[in-house]
C-alpha cells in the first residue's frame, strides 16, 4: 500500500472516529453494573463491525482482511480518539478466532466465526488451581463416551467467564501419557449442564475472572479442536499467533496512557520539575522502542524465537512503570477515584487502580519470570533450568 493510500485510510478512520466514538463514555462507564457494561461493549462492537473495524486482523473471507500497516493506523487512531476498548470480546476475536483459524475444521469455523461477529463471547479455561505457570500439569479430565467427552474438574482465573457463551477448554484425555501428550482441546458451550461459574473478586475490586467448576459436562466429540491428545500443540499455536496482533493495539493504547500522563503532569505543575521531565522522556523513549518492536513483530520480519516474549515482558513492565509514575504524580486526589471506567484499558487515568490492574499483564499469559526464562533459554540459548521440562 502506498503512503498516499494509507493517508487516505487514516483520514477515513479519523472521520469515522469523530462521528462515532461516544463522547462521555468514560464517565458513563464508571461504576456501572456488569450487565450494562456488557451491553455497552456489545453495542460498540457492532458499531465497529459496521465500519469494518472490529476484526481487521481476521482473513478477508471471514470479515477482516486489513493489511498490517492499516491495522497499525487503525489502532493508532482509535487510541488517539480515546475510543472504548473491546475488553469483553478480547478472547473471542483474538484467542478463539486464531485457534479456530489455525486448527479448526471448516464446520467449526462456519459455526463460530460469524457467531463471534454477531456478539458471541468466549473465555479461556486453561489455568487450574494447581496448574498455572506449569499449565501442562492440568488435571481436568475428559473421558470419551460414545459421541461425547465427559469432563470433570475445575478451572480458575478465567477472564470474562461470567459473560461467556463459549469456552476454550484444555482437558486431559490420557492420564497415563507424559504431561503434555495426553491433553486435548475443546470448544465448550458454557450453557451445558454441569458448568458452574463463580466470579472471583480481584485486587481492583471487580470480578472479571472466575472459577469454572465442571461436573460431568458432556462435550460433543465434534467440538474437539485438533487431534485427540494433541491439545498442547494447538494451545501453543494459539498463544503464539494471538500475541503479536494484540500487542499492536496495546502499544497504541499505552501511548494514549502516556499522553494522559503528560497531561496530568501539566495540570499538576509537575512539568516544571526537571526530574519529572527526565522521567517522562525516559518513558516516552521506552514507549517508542515498544512501538517499533511491535511494528516489526507484526510485520512478520522473521521474528526471533523469543521476540513475542520480549514484547510481552517489555510492554507489561512498561505499563507498570507508567501507571506507577502516574500514581506517584497524581497524588492523593487520585486515590479518591474508587472505580475506573470499564471499557477502558489498563491506563484509564484512575491511576492507583490502573497501577494495581497492571499486574493483569505481568501475571497472566506467562508471568514475567517465565518470560525471562524463555528469553534466556530460547533467545540466548542458555542451559535450561533443572527439573521437569517446561
Amino acid at each position: 500500500m502506498t503512503a498516499a493510500l494509507l493517508d487516505d485510510f487514516r483520514a477515513g478512520v479519523r472521520d469515522w472516529c469523530r462521528e462515532h466514538v461516544p463522547g462521555d463514555w468514560r464517565r458513563a462507564q464508571t461504576g456501572v453494573p456488569d450487565e450494562e457494561f456488557a451491553a455497552f461493549q456489545k453495542g460498540w462492537f457492532q458499531e465497529l463491525r459496521r465500519a469494518g473495524y472490529a476484526v481487521p486482523h481476521w482473513p478477508a473471507e471471514w470479515g477482516g482482511g486489513m493489511s498490517v500497516p492499516e491495522q497499525a493506523v487503525l489502532h493508532e487512531e482509535l487510541a488517539a480518539h480515546d475510543a472504548p476498548r473491546l475488553v469483553l470480546a478480547f478472547v473471542s476475536i483474538h484467542h478463539a478466532a486464531s485457534t479456530l483459524l489455525a486448527a479448526g475444521t471448516d464446520a467449526q469455523r462456519r459455526r463460530h466465526l460469524p457467531a463471534i461477529l454477531d456478539g458471541e463471547i468466549w473465555c479461556q479455561g486453561f489455568s487450574e488451581p494447581d496448574a498455572g505457570s506449569d499449565l501442562a500439569a492440568l488435571r481436568t479430565s475428559a473421558r470419551r463416551k460414545g459421541d461425547a467427552y465427559i469432563v470433570n474438574g475445575q478451572k480458575c482465573w478465567a477472564s470474562g467467564a461470567a459473560h461467556a457463551d463459549w469456552c476454550l477448554l484444555l482437558a486431559r484425555t490420557d492420564p497415563d501419557a507424559p504431561k503434555r501428550r495426553g491433553i486435548s482441546y475443546f470448544l465448550m458451550d458454557m450453557r451445558t449442564p454441569g458448568v458452574d461459574v463463580r466470579p472471583t473478586r480481584q485486587a481492583t475490586g471487580e470480578s472479571h475472572f472466575c472459577e469454572i467448576f465442571l461436573d460431568d459436562v458432556a462435550v460433543p466429540a465434534a467440538n474437539r479442536i485438533g487431534p485427540e491428545h494433541e491439545g498442547w500443540r494447538v494451545a501453543q499455536e494459539t498463544l503464539g499467533a494471538e500475541r503479536g496482533m494484540t500487542m499492536l493495539e496495546l502499544a497504541e493504547r499505552l501511548g494514549g496512557g502516556f499522553r494522559r500522563l503528560v497531561g496530568l503532569c501539566g495540570e499538576t505543575g509537575a512539568l516544571d520539575d526537571p526530574v519529572t521531565r527526565d522521567r517522562l522522556a525516559a518513558l516516552e523513549t521506552e514507549l517508542t522502542g515498544l512501538r517499533a518492536l511491535c511494528a516489526k513483530l507484526v510485520a512478520g520480519e522473521r521474528p526471533g524465537p523469543a521476540d513475542a516474549s520480549i514484547v510481552k515482558l517489555f510492554y507489561s513492565e512498561l505499563l507498570q512503570r507508567v501507571t506507577d509514575f502516574g500514581t506517584e504524580i497524581a497524588g492523593l486526589s487520585a486515590h479518591t477515584d474508587l472505580r475506573k471506567p470499564l471499557s477502558s484499558g489498563w491506563e484509564s487515568g484512575a491511576w492507583p487502580l490502573d497501577f494495581v490492574a497492571s499486574w493483569e499483564w505481568t501475571i497472566p499469559g506467562g508471568t514475567s519470570e517465565i518470560q525471562r526464562t524463555i528469553i534466556g533459554e530460547r533467545g540466548l540459548g542458555l542451559p535450561r533450568e533443572p527439573g521437569e521440562g517446561r
Binding site: D130, A203, V275, L332, H335, L338, I363, T373
Partner: protein, 349 residues
C-alpha cells in the same frame, strides 16, 4: 541502643503484634498505653521517646491496621509536645494519653492548602478560615488541632470542636485508611483555645514526624510482604518443585530482602534523629521517607507478582498492602519532593 531498651522494644513489638491481630478499638489501644508512650510521666505517659512509638507504628504497618493511631501519635502528640505549656494544652495532652480524646491535626497531607486567622486582636476573638484537602483520620477526631497563620504570619494552633468545622470524608482506594477534607469558614476561636509554639520551625518538625511515621508503616508493610512471599513461594509447587526454588523467584525475593534491610537502616536512623532532635533530623527523615515508601510499593508489587493469580485476588489481601503502600508514598511528601529537599543541601555546601 542499650541492651535494656532493645529488650523492651522486643517485648513491645510482640505485645503490639498480638494486640493488632485482634483489630483493637481505640479503648484497647489506649489501655495498652500507646498514645502516651512518648509523653512525660507528669501527664501519665510512659516517659519514652519516638523510638517506642516507632515500634508500634511499624507493627501497625505490618498488620495494615486501620485506625487513627498513626495520626494521633505522630501529629497530635507531636504538636502538643511543641506547644507552649498551659492549662488548655495540658488538659488535652492528659486526656489524649488517657485515651479519652482523639485529637487530629488538620494538616494537609499534600501540603497545598492551609488555614489562617483573622481579627485576633478584637474582643470577640479570632476567626479561622481555610481548608486542608487531605487530613488523615479527620472523621475520627473529637478535637481538631488546626495549624494556622495568625495575622502577622506566626504559626499558631487553634483547638476546635469538629462540629464547628466542615469535615467531609474522602474515601480512598486504600480501604485501611481514612482521609477527610477539613474546612473552616470564619469559625470563632476563643483566646484560651489558641496555642503558640515553643519553637519557630514547629510545623516543619511536625511534618517530619508524620513523614517518619509513614516510613515506619512502610517498613512494616515491606516486612509483611516479604514474609508472606517467602512463605508462599516455599509452599506453592509448579513443575514439580516449590516455585521459590526457581532462580527467578529466589532472586526477586533476595532483592526484596536487600531493600527491606536498607529500609530498616534508614528508618532506624530517622527514628533516632526524631527521638534525639539532632541537626540531621530533617535529612534523615527525607531519606527514610523517600526510600521506604518507594521500597514498600516495589516489595508489595513483587509480592503480588510472586503470588501469581492468587496474589491478584481480593481474598489474598496482597492488594491491601499494595494500595496502602501507594497511598503512603503520596502522604506528607512524595519521594521526589523529599529527594528534592535533600538536594538543596548540595548547593549550600
Amino acid at each position: 541502643m542499650t541492651a535494656d531498651l532493645s529488650e523492651f522494644h522486643g517485648e513491645l513489638r510482640a505485645a503490639a503484634s498480638g494486640l493488632l491481630a485482634g483489630t483493637p478499638g481505640w479503648r484497647a489501644i489506649a489501655d495498652a498505653g500507646w498514645p502516651g508512650l512518648e509523653a512525660p510521666a507528669a501527664f501519665d505517659g510512659a516517659d519514652g521517646t519516638f523510638a517506642e512509638v516507632a515500634v508500634v507504628l511499624q507493627e501497625i504497618g505490618r498488620a495494615a491496621a486501620p485506625g487513627p493511631y498513626p495520626s494521633v501519635a505522630a501529629l497530635a502528640i507531636g504538636t502538643l509536645g511543641l506547644l507552649s505549656p498551659g492549662p488548655g494544652r495540658d488538659e488535652l495532652l492528659r486526656a489524649t494519653v488517657a485515651g479519652g480524646t482523639v485529637p487530629v491535626v488538620a494538616l494537609d497531607a499534600e501540603g497545598t492548602e492551609a488555614f489562617r486567622l483573622t481579627g485576633g486582636a478584637r474582643p470577640d476573638g479570632a476567626r479561622l478560615h481555610g481548608a486542608a484537602a487531605f487530613v488523615l483520620d479527620a472523621s475520627a477526631a473529637d478535637r481538631v488541632l488546626v495549624p494556622a497563620a495568625d495575622p502577622d504570619g506566626t504559626a499558631v494552633v487553634a483547638d476546635v470542636d469538629p462540629a464547628d468545622l466542615t469535615v467531609e470524608d474522602r474515601p480512598v482506594v486504600d480501604a485501611t485508611r481514612s482521609l477527610g477534607r477539613v474546612a473552616a469558614d470564619g469559625v470563632a476561636v476563643r483566646p484560651e483555645s489558641l496555642h503558640r509554639f515553643r519553637v519557630p520551625d514547629a510545623l516543619e518538625r511536625i511534618r517530619d514526624r508524620a513523614a517518619v511515621a509513614i516510613a515506619c508503616d512502610c517498613l512494616g508493610i515491606a516486612e509483611a510482604m516479604l514474609d508472606a512471599t517467602v512463605a508462599y513461594t516455599s509452599d506453592r509447587r509448579q513443575f514439580g518443585r516449590p516455585v521459590g526454588s526457581f532462580q527467578a523467584v529466589k532472586h526477586a525475593c533476595a532483592d526484596m530482602l536487600v531493600r527491606v534491610t536498607v529500609t530498616r537502616e534508614l528508618v532506624a536512623a530517622a527514628v533516632r534523629a526524631q527521638a534525639d532532635g539532632g541537626p540531621d533530623a530533617a535529612a534523615a527523615c527525607s531519606m527514610a521517607k523517600s526510600y521506604a515508601c518507594a521500597a514498600a510499593v516495589e516489595v508489595a508489587g513483587k509480592a503480588m507478582q510472586l503470588h501469581g493469580g492468587m496474589g491478584y485476588t481480593w481474598e489474598s489481601g496482597v492488594h491491601v498492602y499494595l494500595k496502602r503502600a501507594a497511598l503512603n508514598r503520596s502522604l506528607f511528601g512524595t519521594p521526589a519532593r523529599h529527594r528534592a529537599r535533600l538536594a538543596v543541601r548540595y548547593a549550600r555546601r
